[in-house]
Symmetry: C2
Subunit: 337 residues, 2 copies
Amino acid sequence: MSVVTIRDVARAAGVSTTTVSRALSETGRVSAATRERIRRIARDLDFRPNELARSLGASRSMTIGVVVPDITNPFFPQLIAGAETAARESHRTIFLVQSPDGPSAADDLAQLRAKQVDGIILVGNPFPHPAELAAAVGDTPLVVVDRGASLPNVATVSSDHRLGGRIGVEHLVALGHTGIAHLAGPAGLDVTQARSAGYREAMAAAGLAPRVVTAGFSAEDGERAARLLLAGSPPVTAVTAANDLVAIGAIRALSDHGLDVPGDVSVIGYDDIGLASFVRPALTTVRQPTDELGRAAVRTLDALIADPASPPRPAPLPVALVERDSAGAVSTGRADA
Amino acid sequence: MSVVTIRDVARAAGVSTTTVSRALSETGRVSAATRERIRRIARDLDFRPNELARSLGASRSMTIGVVVPDITNPFFPQLIAGAETAARESHRTIFLVQSPDGPSAADDLAQLRAKQVDGIILVGNPFPHPAELAAAVGDTPLVVVDRGASLPNVATVSSDHRLGGRIGVEHLVALGHTGIAHLAGPAGLDVTQARSAGYREAMAAAGLAPRVVTAGFSAEDGERAARLLLAGSPPVTAVTAANDLVAIGAIRALSDHGLDVPGDVSVIGYDDIGLASFVRPALTTVRQPTDELGRAAVRTLDALIADPASPPRPAPLPVALVERDSAGAVSTGRADA
DNA sequence: CTGTTAGCGCTTTCAC
DNA sequence: GTGAAAGCGCTAACAG
């Protein structure tokens, strides 16, 4: 009834616990014969090594922490799915922590470290100052996703958001648009800055005046920002959004306002979430390989754990425009207005 | 540089490690004076107890496993968010495991148990036979969500899906519909059966002939099922779907087919995911309190852990119809057809 | 190739 | 109220 331990196996096999330990890990020099015998006995006894004890002894837990700001935004589950898959492949299991951007993240990281995670994946970076992050993470291997954390021994994984910001605008320009606004993400975030920078670059390259309004990352934010935009002075025929949720919110506000998308105004999203092709109009968007991002984060973390001295510097993941129905040629009726 | 342990604190305070341990937990009989002194010293030294060691010693890890079939379906993140919040309140942290419905779930449960989780929340139940579940979970406290696992020492948390299945139909009947089909979830799942049962009940009560086609849980499944329905013989003026994703997919197929929703056919979803109000037409749906479900699961698990002998039997959570735009009165043009 | 001896860092009887 | 001693279950030198 009580739990089978390594000693029970050792006793049953007539060997020391050490030998059992070695036979069960790939680790040691054990004769093939005894290894097989021990394994059989272990199986018969239904021996399940206590991972806590294993971890404590070996000082590695085969466990990683994943910290995301908001599980509810469809982007993150996708990322987590990729991370979970990759983690499973490297025999790690994931502690999932939801931690809104803010200073409380420091506690969450501390908690994770107390649990002796082998490493942490931090999606977004809630710390304004690099020193705070450094203090919070100590010497635990860390991968930051979607944010350039300029720290030694911290690796970064991200899509090419600058390019992503540009792509949308270029598409719109090719479609004949000139009044193109950008609905930006929360102020201060690196992603926000990178995408905005891309937007500005492309606008400048086209000789157009930029117009960016801070929205956020939720559909509600998109609605609100779009209304602001409608209230503003120079009318706009196209919009690039911080993400798909914002785009969807914006479309809603626009159509509530009697405007047709893409007839009157074109909208381009960002991320390409699963539902992007199912909303009406189907979202034209800048796709990032979200679950690959999660996978890449885990692989990078694996490498960092294996060799903390040399943090990998993976290349930014590619983004690409996905053309669907929410962006179209500028309408002649309005283009000349 | 090296890690501060309880011994360092003990030494600095001139007491035994036992006393430090007691001072830092609420546990023991320690004079208020020494307690405070020790706490101060611990803080000064920035002592972070190794949770692994703590867990091993105390045989409880303050850790729970949450197993979901598909993180990517918006329903689950919502549920997880609720669970995470509640877990945080009870000082537990969550191992998140994604495990498609299928026998491999047994391995995932084993893995979680090896990690010495204090309990497991299993969303859905991939085991056809109760005995398999029983074997896989052993004596680890378990809460099954959205599925009645008829096992002693296993608790169940769920919404009132039978009622949920009924509600949608009743609404449609009140709207004048008579040709009402049900796009069901994956065969074999309890949720699927409960909702279908509710559907059938309500149809019978209205003297209507039921028509259920198995769809699944994804938008693609919804599209496919709707196409099947369109190909079928008796035309239908309304549909209740297994979940919102299926409803969204169905709407897409319908409108691709030149049918207007809700003009020609009404569609009712299930769950009320975050985007339900943002798709067009905004989804009329049966709302379940998803994150409350996650919270309830954790609370129930807490109770079960505290007293494994008496598994709580929480009441089913309430569901309610949320009226938006995807369901309307039967169109006179077609109703008489 | 295998066993002995120490721990990993903390909790917990059981005494005093 | 406090300490000594004995683990929790496993891994890891160090011998032989």
